[in-house]
Every structure is written in structure tokens, then in C-alpha cells.
């Protein structure tokens, strides 16, 4: 940190000419307007949802807070919804709307208190952009929680996150739905409880929901490197075991504040033979199940989400998470 009360003059050189970024070279081709086949997202979708604030952005899409003008007209004091759209680049894929619909269809089949509730799927006629409307969640995402608590959290607070998160995942798997992108920013501690969200890379297991468009991982590969299992990085199809690896990484990080493999991808970590150290607050049996979930090799990962859940459930006390976070608890 610099501290300055009396700045020195002559700090400024005349006529410095910088360009902002390496990928913004001022060539004539670069500066031509882009010719997108995709129209920009309007401020109001379908004449009803007024986009107010960007809540999140990813490689594929963006989520906004929107005001539902119809609900507002009828005097709803909380007329807010979240809107998920595909990014403009991704929306250029010819089957982009079908993939967003697939996310909608998968998630709406999961009725669980700890899985995000979707309202609807629609296409804005004017811009031809598809979008999902979903419940507006206010609270802390786990990535924010980790930034605020870099040392990790005590057993009770950890358990109060782990149990609903694993319940949600075990339920999704029991319904034949795989998440495909579990990471801290896809879990929120909302005012009325935890929600797992963003099934954008989700898939039904083979044979479930026939006829639904499937995201072909041969043609389209996406992941979050630090939470993707080794077999996914090697091109294997998504399985429930890959979700178990990802959620185990998230739980370890919540316990210690540190990613189990020093923020390396599974490939890098295996090459370096990194062994995660047991978090101090975990009992031996609980650490054993979590360690199994963190195995690089899929055949060694002999545990499912229900097994992890059992490992975290073996000590059950009253909930302290809300008190610990200072969150308002709903009745």
C-alpha cells in the first residue's frame, strides 16, 4: 500500500499512449464492428422481465436479477425473479436454445428444498434469445463465504452446509440427474436455506428422460478446471462419481479454506502426487469418506453422494450456521 499526503508533482509524463489489452491491438480489422448473428439482449424480455442487475457471469451464460412487470402491476411487493440467458457467443450455436431448454427440463424435475426452483422457459421474440426464469435467491454463495473466511469454518458450520448440499446432490442422482459443474459459486446460502443451482452442464443418466436434447460432450466440452475429476478432463462421459469428486473438493475447501490440491486441476495434482492433509475438525470416519470422494481415479472413488451424506450426518446437533453467519433465519 502506498501512503501519500503530499503528492510530488512531475509524476505525470506527457502524452503516454497505452492500449488497454494485448488482445485489443488497434488494427483496422480489429476495429470493424462485429457481425454477430445473435441480437443483443434487450432491457426488457418478452415485454415483462426488466433486467436490473447482473448477478453472475460464466463461460456460457449470465444470470440477471429482473423485475417481473406483470407481478409488479398486480401489486406483488417482491416482484423479482432471476433470469438465466446464454452468452452471446454461445447463443450462436444452432442448438443453443435446446440446450438451455434441457437445463430447464432437467432442473424442473428436481423438486427438492435445496435445489433451485425454476419458473419457466421462454424465448424473447424480438431478440430470439432463450431464457429461463427462476426464483430470486438472496444470500451468500460459497465462493463469497470462502473469501470472507479464508481459514475455513468449524465443524458445526461446515456440517450445516454439507448436509443440505449432499442431500440435494443425492436427491438429484436418485432422480437420474447429474449436475456436471459443482463448485462454490453454484451453491448459495439463501435466507431460507441452501440451494444448489446451475444445472447448465447437467445431464440425465442414460435411459432417463429419453427425447430430451443431450449436451454432447464429444462436440462440446466444458468444466471448471479445479473441480473437474480426472476422468472428465480425460474426456470420459459425465457420471455421478465426477459430481462426488467436485462436491468433495468444495467440502474440503470449506473445512480448511484451501482447495485440497492447492488449486491445481486433478491432472496436475496427480502428476505432483499431492496428498491432502486431514482437516483438523473432521472426525476420522468423516475424513475417511471425504478422502474417498477426493480420489483421482474413478475406480478408487468408491462412494456416492449418499455415502458422503452419511459420513457428515453421524454427529447431529442443533443448527448453528445461521447464527455463525449472522443470517436471518426464516420461520
Amino acid at each position: 500500500m502506498h501512503l501519500m499526503d503530499e503528492p510530488n508533482a512531475a509524476v505525470v509524463e506527457d502524452e503516454l499512449t497505452y492500449f488497454a489489452f494485448a488482445n485489443k491491438a488497434p488494427s483496422t480489422t480489429e476495429t470493424l464492428p462485429r457481425t454477430h448473428g445473435v441480437k443483443a439482449l434487450p432491457d426488457v424480455l418478452s415485454g415483462r422481465y426488466k433486467l436490473e442487475r447482473l448477478l453472475g457471469v460464466g463461460g456460457m451464460g449470465a444470470v440477471y436479477r429482473a423485475r417481473d412487470l406483470m407481478r409488479e402491476q398486480y401489486g406483488d411487493p417482491e416482484p423479482f425473479v432471476a433470469i438465466k440467458t446464454l452468452s452471446e457467443d454461445f447463443a450462436e450455436y444452432p442448438d443453443a436454445s435446446a440446450l438451455l431448454y434441457s437445463e430447464f427440463a432437467l432442473t424442473t424435475r428436481l423438486r427438492h428444498p435445496h435445489i433451485v426452483r425454476l419458473h419457466g422457459f421462454d424465448i424473447d421474440r424480438e431478440s430470439e434469445r432463450a431464457y429461463i426464469t427462476l426464483e430470486m435467491l438472496r444470500g451468500l454463495t460459497l465462493d463469497k463465504l470462502l473469501c470472507d473466511h479464508p481459514q475455513g469454518m468449524g465443524w458445526e458450520a461446515l456440517r450445516d452446509i454439507a448436509i443440505p448440499l449432499l442431500e440435494a446432490l443425492a436427491f438429484a442422482h436418485s432422480q437420474g440427474v447429474l449436475h456436471g459443474d459443482i463448485k462454490p459459486s453454484n451453491v448459495i446460502l439463501a435466507e431460507d436455506g441452501l440451494r444448489l443451482f446451475d444445472f447448465g452442464l447437467g445431464q440425465p443418466v442414460e435411459g432417463v428422460l429419453p427425447g430430451l436434447p443431450r449436451l454432447s460432450r464429444n462436440r462440446f466440452t466444458a468444466w471448471t478446471p479445479r473441480y473437474a475429476s480426472l476422468e472428465l478432463l480425460d474426456g470420459a462421459p459425465l457420471t455421478s462419481s465426477a459430481d462426488v469428486y467436485a462436491v468433495s473438493c468444495v467440502l474440503y475447501e470449506l473445512a480448511t479454506g484451501q482447495h485440497p490440491y492447492r488449486r491445481l486441476s486433478a491432472k496436475q495434482a496427480r502428476a505432483m502426487q499431492i496428498e491432502p492433509t486431514p482437516p483438523a475438525q473432521l472426525s476420522k470416519p468423516c475424513w475417511q469418506v471425504l478422502r474417498t470422494g477426493l480420489q483421482f481415479a474413478e475406480p478408487d472413488r468408491q462412494i456416492d453422494a449418499s455415502g458422503l451424506l452419511d459420513g457428515f450426518r453421524h454427529v447431529k446437533q442443533s443448527s448453528t450456521l445461521g447464527r455463525w453467519l449472522g443470517l436471518r433465519q426464516s420461520a
Partner: protein, 240 residues
Amino acid sequence: MLWRSAARTDAGKVRARNEDAFLDSPEQGLWAVADGMGGHSQGDLASRLIIESLAELPIGAGFDERLQQLRQCLHWLNRRLNQELTVIADQADTIIGSTVVALLCDDKRAACVWAGDSRCYLWRSGRLYQLTKDHSVQQRMIDEEKLTPEQAARHPAAHALTQAIGANEKLALDILEFSLMPGDSMLLCSDGLYKGISQNAIGAALSLPSAQIALERLFDTALLGPARDNLTAIVIRRQE
């Protein structure tokens, strides 16, 4: 209110998209400019996410606590845009990021926090001070290899950034704290503005009688040039 401020952004004459964003919040004593970069069309989302997140920072606390919250928010955004980003394997350029320069003020103190090459200037007693030091390869070569700005500018990567929100796993923010004096004016701006206008012209604009008039002068001058990049500026003036 203690502050008068005026802000404006413009896509410039060439770019179809404006990836700059700003926060002009005199009631919070908080202002910020963000200049987004993205693989394709995501740069505007990165700068918008930063600005809209800063806009929701709580107001009530004291200066030190607010500065801490501001820094924490930027570190979280860095994590969100870097480690938490879903990567599409075929798209090598999936960096989504943005510069940021933010100014937090109370009645006596100010702190400027930045990452990247968006700048903060101070106009005090008829002199112009550049408070921020760019996080760019050019600036690093000036500092470490003692090159002149002209020599450093010839490096092929001179304009590349060494820090930005979302660019690296670890974010190193720079922070400069200073005491405010009566008559101080501050300017936050993206590179599209300062590269299109001389330092003397910036000083001349900031000496004008109001923030709004100063801002108009800055844009009038910058838009006389080629204005290839997006340009954004906020002029902040303490009430007498």
C-alpha cells in the same frame, strides 16, 4: 452533499460495443471505472458485474471498514471471474476480466484502489497528479529496466496488462490513501479517455468551474481524435 460528480461513457468512434462501465455514487462517496476484456463478448459483462457489485456495498460503516469491504469485494470478483469460471475447452481465450479503478472518500480521507491501467488523477492547487501507476508491461519495463516511456512502448506486449480483475489466480490490488484538501478534483478514467488527450488538456479541463463542464471538455477533446477505444470518465469535486 459533500460531493458533486459527473460521469459519462462512450463507445468511441470505432467499436460497436462498449465494454466500459462506471459507478457514480456521490451519496456513497464511491466512484469506479471498469474497462472489460473478454474472449469474445464477455468483457462488458465483467465490467458490469464489478460495477454493480460495488454499487451494493454497505454504506454505514467507517472509512477503514468500508475500504476493507471494497477490497474484499474485488478479491471475491477476481475469484468469481478466474477460479470459478466454467471453461469451454475449445475456446482458448476464455479469460473474462476487467480493469478497475475505484475511489472511496469521506470528508477528510480518500483511498484509490486499482488493478489494470484505468487511472485516477488528482487536480490540486493548479497541478495535476497521476495517483495510479498502470499495471502494464510498459510500466513494468519503465520501472524495472529503466526504459523511457517511448522505449517501453516499442515492446510488442507493451500494452498488455499485468493485473486485472479475473486475469490471474492471485490479485494484487494497489491502494493509495491520501488526505483531502478543499478544492480537490479527482478524475477516474479508462485508457480510451487518457490516451486521446494530453495531460495538459486534462489539467485544463479539471480547472473549469464545475464537474459537469470539466467532463464535457474532456470528452469534446478526446472525441476530436480517432477514439478507437471505449472512453469513460468521472470527475469528482468536493463541495466548497
